[in-house]
């Protein structure tokens, strides 16, 4: 199972990375992309939108199903990975390189409450 040690995770299968400038980059895990199958559509959050932790932030659609992506922490949308709208398959190819959006956290303490790699691995093992 591909679960990079340097990232943090949510119970809803997002990954989050704390950048040097304090922003948080968000994507979905390799496990999540595998469950969804071939992705064909990505709807990203609007720029500057303020999101609460756990709020519906983006939508991914595979051939099979639609899935919501939730904000791991609260904050304002600072960047979106626009390249994904023409190439959603990048998420299947490398879920940790194909980030979805970046947040400027409203409450930096929230990041510390996310799962670490070991915690996420235990969660996936319990689900499968």
């Amino acid at each position: 199972m591909n679960i990079p040690a340097e990232l943090r995770y949510t119970t809803s299968h997002e990954w989050a990375r704390l950048e040097a400038d304090g922003s948080v980059t968000v994507g979905i895990t390799d496990h999540a992309q595998e469950l969804l199958g071939d992705l064909v559509f990505v709807e990203l959050p609007e720029a500057d939108k303020a999101l609460a932790a756990g709020e519906n932030a983006a939508v991914l659609e595979s051939v099979k199903a639609a899935a919501d992506v939730y904000a791991p922490v609260s904050g304002k949308v600072a960047a979106r990975n626009e390249a994904l709208s023409d190439a959603p398959e990048q998420i299947n190819q490398d879920a940790y390189a194909a980030w979805l959006f970046r947040l400027v956290p409203a409450n930096p303490a929230e990041f510390g409450q996310l799962l670490d790699a070991a915690g996420y691995k235990a969660l996936v093992n319990a689900e499968t």
Partner: protein
């Protein structure tokens, strides 16, 4: 415990992602659903469809029985082996199931019914046989010595790869026209399918299935799951039972008027209801003109009123979202429509299915 087909271990060996499909553990895909889809359009794919139920209907009254049971007319089957697609209706004109039946002789037919409806269908057919006092018997080929497996080999290179894997089938199937079937030893090979491509559906004794599957794999047939099967049939404009029609939907409102024989004098179950109701809706295709994916149950707006998507997906061939939809009468192919996706109304175009046939884009 879900039911499994005889090829279950073979699917696991190919790392299939298995899912529950109507009580059967079946492969969804073997890695990439889109890759499998393209393999069928461009080369050759194979599907385990052993969850479906094959049966024989045998007896002196087999023909009058099917003539009264089915909405399409088995009298059209003049040549042995010829296949007929037909809805089987209830008295209210709703669809109990859709099926394919081949005439082997006047008193022997080969039929394939859907997996999820098999028990219900067999009870329905037995009940009518008894009620009508007709001399025919149903022989489902599911258990014991009769147990069969079914492998669909589909794609422009399907015939060639099948003959490479099973040279014994070549002589009997080389000049078999589309929508026919032939018995070859204990196998039944039909030129039918659910993809819009050329190919075979092979029914064979369960014990021989693994060897044929492996031989096809070696010949280069790509193993394909139910995921690709769904996108292929949707592109081909073929209905899926339980989604595009069911017991509460008239075949006339599900795009199946072409296989309901209302022209002849013949009476059949559901005919009176269909004549009384007439057609109440149209069944057409939709192509999404914006980004997104069409899905079943999304609402459709047309100048003639509201409709509903019954099957939707992303078409790997057209690289856009497509759907089959039940729309108000009067909506014409080529006209504009809107589809509601997550609260937004997106632009779509009404098209006449199929979207793709024999590898060619039609819509």
């Amino acid at each position: 415990m879900p039911k499994t087909t005889i090829l279950n271990a073979a699917h696991h060996a190919l790392n299939a992602r298995m899912v529950d499909f109507g009580g059967w553990e079946m492969p969804l895909h073997y890695g990439s659903q889109i890759g499998e889809h393209h393999a069928v359009r461009r080369d050759c794919g194979m599907f385990d469809v052993s969850h479906m139920c094959a049966l024989e209907i045998v007896g002196p009254d087999a023909t009058p029985f099917l003539s009264r049971l089915l909405a399409n007319n088995v009298a059209k089957l003049k040549t042995p082996g010829k296949a007929l697609y037909s809805p089987m209706l209830n008295e209210a004109g709703g669809v109990v199931d859709d099926l394919i039946v081949h005439r082997l002789s006047d008193c022997r037919y080969h039929m394939v019914i859907n997996a999820g409806t098999a028990e219900k269908d067999l009870a329905w057919m037995s009940g009518h046989l008894a009620d009508w006092h007709l001399r025919a018997e149903l022989f489902p080929m599911r258990a014991g010595e009769r147990a069969v497996a079914m492998i669909a080999v589909q794609g422009p290179n399907a015939r060639r790869k099948t003959w490479e894997a099973a040279p014994d089938l070549r002589a009997a199937t080389e000049s078999l026209p589309p929508f026919f079937g032939v018995e070859v030893g204990r196998m039944f090979v039909a030129t039918t399918g659910y993809t819009g491509e050329d190919g075979f559906e092979i029914t064979l004794p369960a014990g021989q299935a693994e060897a044929l599957w492996q031989a096809l794999h070696k010949a280069g047939a790509q193993a394909c799951g139910l995921g690709a099967r769904d996108t292929l049939r949707l592109e081909a404009g073929m209905n899926l039972y339980g989604q595009d029609m069911d017991e509460n939907v008239s075949p006339l409102d599900a795009g199946l008027a072409w296989c309901v024989d209302l022209a002849s004098e013949r009476d059949f179950v559901g005919k009176a209801a269909l004549l009384a109701q007439g057609q109440r809706a149209q069944f057409l295709g939709l192509k999404l003109l914006e980004k997104g994916v069409l899905r079943a149950h999304q609402k459709v707006r047309t100048p003639q009123g509201e409709g509903e998507i019954t099957s939707g997906t992303f078409s790997p061939t057209l690289e856009t979202a497509i759907a089959l939809a039940r729309l108000p009468l009067g909506v014409a192919a080529g006209s504009a429509a809107q589809v509601e996706i997550r609260g937004k109304w997106l632009s779509a175009q009404v098209v006449a299915p199929p979207f793709v046939r024999h590898g060619k884009k039609l819509a």
